[in-house]
Amino acid sequence: MSVSVRIPTILRTYTKDQAEVSVEGGTLQEVIDALEADYPGIRARILDDAGKLRRFVNVYVNDDDVRFADGLATATPDGAGVSIIPAVAGGC
């Protein structure tokens, strides 16, 4: 399963300034593991020490927030788009 991952600005030091990268993986967990293999160090920025998504990161698979789906077990079909976005924007 080849998926496209959009990288936020603060993580682009790991991807040599690439805003979008392609990796293989059938679930979000597998996608993050594949990212780590290609870009060492990036997983620890997305997941905490317990291996869970950090509190202030939002991850979307095909525009769906994974917290409304199956979290790290969310399926990532072939051709899916994954977005990683800091969760600290917003209003009052």
Partner: protein, 435 residues
């Protein structure tokens, strides 16, 4: 240090010269951005998330000892710029073209207090700001940061009030604006955002969808020189909410109220009011005494209230469904901090139904002559509910926030109209039973 805030604003003197972003003076007494999660520090810049843990960044200061006094503040202009020494803004900020928001009225709400059985109640009424909501405060600070960073476009994701504030501030400052809103926003708020002449873009989705889009746009070359006030300028933007704390205390005679009820959308305003109170104590401008902070949400979008009641430390996002659209943020970024503050101060977070929101808008209007938007109805509704449950002390001095004007959300009180429609005769008036 000479306090620039002590210089009254002059409407005849203005400049569009941008301060030098590399000069420390561009941000006044602010010295760094600090991660609220891990404490890592970063140079002042257009960044908003920690590169180590994604945590939110906020402005850290090094205030000159003894230089900020009640007298120096009172000598300043009747706007948020009287507190410029406590904000990340350059010297002379009050003389630059901006909307000069703030110093709104603190209404001693005797009639409402009597109706609710309270001893001392005040309404901090931010509907009196230039675009009729508290958003002018936060945008004014973000605008200064955008100027300092040499940005050419002011932008935001918005549920309405912020869109208007950004459009107006950009117009006044001579910048382009391009703001993004959910396309189903109230018609009045769309008009109020578009009238300032900037670009207004409706997004087919919720506020959280809009917010996500803007977060991605800043990482694209399109948004390279754009200042999104509530995204890449968020650390500065948030500081504007501190001025509510400063004003409330100053208007009470330099006293912290015992209880404050604050609406929650992302929770940023509540956290910054707490930060502002702590700063006043640290600077010796107010007596250090206990205060309780209460958060208010609409039941149709109450993830923080639900987490508080369940005893959770994390906030599970929801899909909003409420008439209080300005509070309809299903994924509140500062939610965990709101929980911390309300618990630490002995406060609470509560929510009310849309029907209670409408009823509370009418209550505030009927008792105090203040026409609040739906967020104000939420806050007054929660005030009533917390009083009824015993969570709020009716004997304690209490401040409740009205963050926007009811003219922005007329649909909420649709159907409110004439007591009677009669022919222009005395007999008809008598017959209507109103004589």
């Amino acid at each position: 240090m000479a306090l620039s805030a002590a210089t009254p604003a002059s409407p005849t003197t203005s400049t569009t010269t941008a301060p030098d972003a590399t000069s420390p003076a561009s941000f006044g007494n602010a010295v760094a951005l600090s991660c609220r999660e891990c404490g890592e520090r970063f140079p002042l810049g257009p960044i908003f998330a920690c590169t180590s843990c994604f945590g939110p960044l906020e402005v850290a200061y090094d205030y000159p000892a003894g230089a900020i006094t009640r007298e120096s503040i009172a000598a300043g202009p009747n706007s948020i710029w009287r507190y410029a020494a406590l904000l990340p803004v350059p010297a002379g900020v009050a003389e630059r073209p901006n909307l000069n928001p703030g110093f709104t009225r603190l209404v001693h709400a005797r009639n409402l207090a009597r109706e609710l059985g309270m001893r001392a109640l005040h309404v901090k009424d931010d509907s009196g700001n230039p675009t009729h909501s508290f958003k002018d405060r936060v945008v004014a600070i973000a605008l200064e940061a955008a100027r300092t960073f040499g940005m050419n476009t002011l932008s935001c994701s918005s549920t309405g009030n912020l869109a208007g504030a950004v459009g107006a501030a950009a117009a006044r400052a001579g910048l382009r604006s391009c703001v993004f809103i959910p396309s189903d926003l109230e018609a009045g708020k769309q008009v109020m955002a578009a009238v300032y002449g900037g670009d207004l873009v409706g997004i087919d989705g919720t506020y959280d969808d809009v917010n996500r889009f803007c977060s991605e746009l800043i990482g694209d070359p399109i948004g390279q020189d754009w200042g999104f006030v509530n995204v890449n300028l968020r650390p500065y933007y948030g500081e504007g909410s501190k001025t509510l704390a400063y004003e409330i205390c100053e208007q009470l005679g330099w006293r912290i109220p015992e209880q404050i009820v604050i609406p929650i959308a992302s929770g940023s305003q509540l956290t910054k009011i707490d930060k502002g109170l702590a700063e006043l104590v640290k600077l010796g401008l107010v007596e250090d005494r206990p205060y309780r902070i209460f958060g208010a949400q609409a039941t149709g979008c109450s993830p923080v209230s639900a987490a508080f009641k369940a005893g959770h430390d994390v906030v599970r996002p929801v899909r909003p469904d409420t008439i209080a659209k300005s509070l309809a943020i299903g994924n509140p970024a500062d939610g965990p901090y709101v929980l911390d503050i309300c618990r630490r101060t002995g406060g609470a977070v509560e929510d009310v139904s849309d029907a209670e929101v409408v009823d509370s808008i009418k209550l505030l209007a009927r008792t105090e002559g203040i026409f609040a938007e739906t967020a104000g109805g939420v806050t007054v509704g929660v005030l009533r509910k917390l009083l009824a449950s015993g969570a709020l002390d009716p004997e304690a001095e209490t401040v409740v926030l009205n963050t926007g004007d009811g003219l922005k959300t007329l649909d909420a009180v649709a159907g409110t109209g004439p007591s009677a429609v009669i022919k222009p005769t005395l007999d008809a008036f008598r017959a209507a039973g109103l004589a």
